[in-house]
Symmetry: C2
Subunit: 335 residues, 2 copies
């Protein structure tokens, strides 16, 4: 199945580059409201499903035992920029469990965001695992193990009890069978499983509707989504797209990016869940797609819709600040 | 016309992302040897055509008047990383014409290459126009104007005599009509014109065959291409793809990248010219495509072919150095 062109990048009067993509919107009953492209093939959600992977932290009672509030829970679901607040919160989470950064298995990297990187270079010899964009998720993993009594060592491995628990959760939510066959290794070394985009969106829907979930899981899921919406800076960071999307309508939009052009989102009040994937893995395309799809579900003349469309369709400037072109979504997303 | 999938990005056992692209190879007579995808629509060559834009520097006599050798000529054709040698060479070129960086109209930016950026952040308050990846091209522009007696001010503008001269050169080489209709503004503020990929490749071919060109132009073109092949570090920089491609077979491969997934290359000894464009603008796809296409034209068991295929098909590791997937070209490029 050919995926349609969903995003165009223009320069002057012409289209310079085109992105194809898949997109699906699911209602509170789990029915497909909209779809474009091949939404049935497996897609690695990568970091987009961190809120699902954070469920054991809440379900196990670890989050309560360690006194975690919205910021810690949001960071457990985050791909953060490694700003000082993110790093301090991850360190706080580990300390609550009597551990430190030496237990983290995510590896270290400089921030991907230039202004943060420049600040880091001017204050650090080199980044630590706490600066890794996944350090909140990994700190949550460690806290879960410490609370349940599992040895956290090797927590990133396919056969560790924590990853077994996450597999069961992902199957419960997405309906997909997960095994070594559809498993890859993520940037932070934990397993990531290819699931159909429809299943991914349905799974996100269950996080807010709770439909078909055990009450403990339903409550934990809603608590994590609410925490992210309450503290959007802790889900991403300064000028980051997830943060900006959630700031458009505080408490009414949840959004989370994943590597290779994945984006998931929720409009909890409307019972709608969204998942998109740029065929080519481009972040700029996934961002435009998710913003345009979310915009459709706000009133035509609302501030929220205007703000979301500004995130979906925007100009590009060059090194001199001159306007050189635009990124815009195509009619496919408005069919 | 649908462009075929030319590059796949895998994770675990699965394809995670796919890039579509256009590619064309032209022989010394200007005939198409190979093509894939829509090679007749307009493509902005962006920085891939800097060697064409540098012709006035040599044709005007400016390069000789200012005593420029291979390094300065290579830098005039470069998208460099802003390493100290690049910055010093651009400053030297301007000084030869009695000017300094204040005349440059390219804007300033930090290096796009993380290790260079880190060095820059540790030694500079902020980058100057000399650090712009296009500073060599712009210094060449300024030198051309100073030598011919044109006022360099406004040299980046569509109506400046230098840009008029470059338009005439681009038409001579590519056969395409250039006007405001197919003109966009490049990252460094000069005009860039959409031309068919076939025309772009044919134009590059003329740079080494000289066919159909005035003798002065043919000699200038060959001198620029030879300068780039002699000093590949000055065309890009440390660990950069253009530099690595040219180092595979010193003096026998010319290669130049452009933004939004364009790559052009030459095998002068074989009279072959190459142009590719990733539909989605992805650099990783353009790099894989050009390396695979070049590889085809070396003996099956040669070191050069093996080295080029290693650039076309390579593993990807995560923050912990674990192998997580591959980038590979598809059979489309070997049809």
């Amino acid at each position: 199945m050919e995926n349609p062109v969903t995003v165009e990048v223009t320069r002057g009067q012409l289209v310079e580059s085109r992105h194809r993509g898949m997109a699906v919107v699911i209602d509170a009953e789990g029915a497909i409201v909209f779809s474009a492209g091949d939404v049935d093939s497996g897609v690695f959600p990568r970091s987009a499903c961190k809120a699902m992977q954070a469920l054991p932290l809440v379900e196990s009672g670890a989050a309560d035992a360690y006194g975690f509030g919205n910021r810690e829970l949001a960071l457990a679901c985050a791909s953060h920029s490694g700003e000082p607040e993110h790093v301090a919160t991850a360190a706080f989470m580990l300390k609550a469990a009597g551990r430190d950064a030496s237990v983290l298995e995510c590896g270290a990297h400089w921030s991907s965001h230039q202004s943060v990187l420049i600040d880091q270079v001017r204050t650090l010899e080199k980044p630590t695992a706490l600066h890794n964009n996944c350090s909140g998720k990994h700190s949550g993993f460690v806290c879960t193990c410490c609370h349940t009594g599992d040895d956290p060592r090797g927590y990133a491995g396919f056969d560790h009890p924590l990853q077994e628990a996450i597999r069961a959760i992902m199957t419960d939510l997405t309906g997909a069978v997960l095994s070594r066959d559809n498993c890859g290794t993520d940037g932070c070394s934990i397993p990531t499983y290819a699931v159909p985009l429809t299943g991914l969106a349905r799974g996100f829907g269950k996080l807010v509707t709770g439909k078909g979930l055990e009450p403990l899981r339903a409550a934990a899921a809603r608590r994590l989504i609410n925490a992210c919406m309450a503290e959007p800076f802790y889900v991403a960071g300064t000028k980051r797209f997830c943060t900006k999307l959630m700031q458009v309508a505080p408490g009414r939009i949840f959004a989370k990016t994943g590597a290779e052009g994945v984006f998931c989102a929720l409009l909890p009040d409307k019972g709608l869940s969204f998942a998109v994937k740029a065929e080519d893995g481009a972040t700029r395309a996934a961002e435009a797609m998710i913003a345009a799809l979310l915009a459709r579900h706000f009133d035509a003349d609302s501030e929220e819709r205007a703000a979301l469309m500004k995130l979906a369709h925007h100009g590009m400037t060059n090194w001199n600040g001159l306007s050189v072109g635009t990124i815009r979504t195509t009619d496919v997303l408005f069919a």
